[in-house]
């Protein structure tokens, strides 16, 4: 696809975006393309990452949650595979491998989450997420009961559903704009650290 939305030069961006992006670069060693791709519209960028952080890093907004970082990235990777979003499967699959310390799990949930090597609790979490992703209009009490059987409260269900819904947005943005994952993501978390 034609490159319709070229990445902006970091130096042309508003200060708050540039500062945040440089922090990410400092931490990750590179700038994930989503930070630049969305930056051409600073107001949308700010809302997107504020939403992202509220859902993916609840402590940053003063909320705690029993979902681990690995759980959250597992929802994202599975949702993104269902939506066939290359950027998000590759980028969040990398984070999933790292947080779960399982080099194989991202490929497993991306290809067929029903057969992945995950816990029954995570399986129930993905059942709910995938129904929100594909048939949210059919969600009913039985879906919450299935979550509750694994200890998930309605508050946790909100987390699962909201992460799925937010990345449905992210997936569509990445796909129609032709966003490409950075090459670095493909390998992250695959090779166990040497001591």
């Amino acid at each position: 696809m034609t490159d319709r939305y070229p990445l902006p030069d970091l130096n042309t961006l508003p200060d708050d975006l540039r500062t945040k992006i440089l922090e990410v670069q400092e931490k990750a060693g590179f700038v994930p393309n989503v930070f630049l791709a969305l930056a051409r519209r600073p107001a949308e960028w700010r809302a997107f990452f504020a939403y992202h952080d509220a859902l993916m890093d609840p402590e940053s907004v003063g909320r705690s949650s029993p979902l681990t970082k690995g759980d959250r990235e597992m929802i994202v990777t599975t949702t993104s595979a269902a939506n066939q979003c290359l950027y998000c499967v590759v980028a969040h699959g990398a984070l999933l491998r790292i947080y779960e310390k399982k080099p194989l799990v991202a490929d497993q949930v991306a290809v067929n989450w029903r057969k992945a090597d995950i816990t029954p609790r995570q399986r129930a979490m993905l059942d709910f997420a995938m129904k929100v992703c594909e048939r949210s209009h059919e969600i009913d009490d039985a879906d919450f009961a299935a979550l509750a059987a694994h200890g998930f409260t309605d508050e946790d269900a909100w987390d699962i559903g909201a992460i799925t819904a937010f990345f449905g947005l992210s997936n569509r943005m990445a796909s129609f704009t032709g966003m490409q994952p950075n090459a670095e993501f493909y390998l992250m978390g695959r090779v166990p650290k040497q001591k």
Copy 2:
């Protein structure tokens, strides 16, 4: 469905939320339920409405766009019908009727946008939106060319795609949480104003 996520009392909300909600109430005559339903998580609320405003009221963030308010609400209503989201079809259908000054158009696009009484330009806009909604992974150059044939630039395509993606998020939130539209919305814009 059980009422799992009861609306919070306005007086328990953070000041910035309460202020904004009172402004909306002042203007609309009632508080649309989405403002209260999402308010139980203030950080997500702030991001949601910041994103909403950046897309639906670009002037508020210093950007202009050839899409009219009616165009935008038409995308929202059509997307929400595709996602079978009751809240958004009813609430945004009301706004669509008002902005377009066409009492019949919301029901038309909600039931079958292909046969609605809209312009060829709006039809092309909805073609693109519906593909982002349902098959964003298949969007390609031909889809942008079809928009361009009606004068839409790549920047306008971003608007159409982003509105569709954002309301895909909104639709999923409203559906899985069981959000109900206020009764007022159902009738708004249907009866021509008397002089």
Copy 3:
């Protein structure tokens, strides 16, 4: 879509059609377009309305049924929304609002019948109807048992299934011929009567 099948002049129609149409006009205040659209083929018109009346007004053929007029129009509106038929959703949604005396219910079942404010018995009725509409080849004993749990006999199941099947015919006719609902239908039953 091009207007391929223009409505015939009432005066050119056979006497029996004209008489019946004038009666409808007398009662409703206008002639619903379906009466004229199908009238260009009088033999089909007669069969269509005979079938319609046998199903929607069983007393007219000497049969009683526990399904109310509201129940019947609810099946029609939901079926027509599933088939994305503008004419039938708008026209029968109006009748549904009037018979049920619920100004919001038609929009609710049209957008997502699973979340409409209806009785559990009506929900079971629509479950059966939607399966006949979309997957009639999969109907089995369990579907009749689910109806029976709400007091519906096999005779009632015939009513539900036949109404769904008949309006599947009606929906396809209206859609491929480009039939448009009269503007009057959009507002009927929405505004409570003033005393």
Copy 4:
């Protein structure tokens, strides 16, 4: 499936039904089950067969049409296969073989009409019919143009669409009521007549 709707005794039926059914029996050598299955509701029976005859035997209502009897039964068989209706595929497949004098054609269109040994004109006819059957809400001017390229007028399009719509009704009735085709139909038209 349980036999919920047993066939009524011919002698218990109203005179007009019995007379017509005896005529059919005289001509065919047996009573096709649809005549008895629907007879338990005489008013619906009368409307059903009046509609059937108006569409399948237009001369009987004073109308002529370029569609042959074989064309009509081909539409019915293909529609019924798409709706997975056993009764109609078997019964109308028999008529199709007989009218077209092609012992193989019914199985061909039932399994995959796209690869059947039929004329390009019949292929265009089935393209239109299948779109009415499965996606009538998407029919547009291009579909009529594709018919016109093979000499079909808008009046012929009405025939094709109405036959498809009517048998969509018939298919749903037969499937949910568990109607079984008479054994005789399976073999009719398969063995060339001996001289």
Copy 5:
């Protein structure tokens, strides 16, 4: 479709193919087209028929199985109908009629296997087969349990799944190459043998 892959002359084929094909001709009275159609690639031909025989005639490879020849052909016919493969529905439907000694059963399972006149055990067998055919990635323990309730072991499940998978291959080959069933198959097993 253009005849892209004409059947080769029997005399141009390698000896082992020709010998086997002549044996089939001797037994059946004609050469089923699949034997010639695939023969243009002898190595693939040998693998295809070796696989076929291992699954459809397990005794030939020294294995016994509780699935009868009729059971096996029933799986093939149902799978092939789901894949809309004309060749295999017609050819294997013939064998199904013969092995089951039921002239109607092939048309029944091809149109709608859920309503065919088969045993509950065969119905369970087809439930499993159809899930392997259409959603093999969703097969889980419950599917094997449903088979076990009818006496099928995991070894039998392998048979059912493997036959379905193999004919999914066969169906795709026949469809994309435009393979046509021999006219003889259409009538085989339909007329009870005269004494």
Copy 6:
């Protein structure tokens, strides 16, 4: 899923299987699970790998083909992702990376082949393969013409279609039997060789 089909001990297998498996182990450094999983049925194993080799290594059966090893593995990986088969996506994705010498390409085609970094010729090849995979009954002359525009002959089309069909079989076998990819495959071809 329960481990229903445990891998057999290599020493219990027939000589020809053991010899071939040891050769594979010698070359790859490990035994890919498919070789053991299918070995519990030696006759099927022999046919499966004979078919595999005839399609994936045509030189081994005395045939040449313009499709490269990378092309072939790209078809397999894309087909397997469409069928959500974990084993084949991971195992053949590894081979694809190696043959194409592109560490990112397997994840790209597995998530969304339409946006992968491949040649237009490979894109056309996958268009055809995916239609054979998902809608083989709709393949027509236009599909062959689209291939021809990129230099693919009808013979090459056979290769593409047959590989897709064969791995549709393989995918279903792997999925319903619960076959797991060896851990080694996940990383192969991802890290450029050091000198």
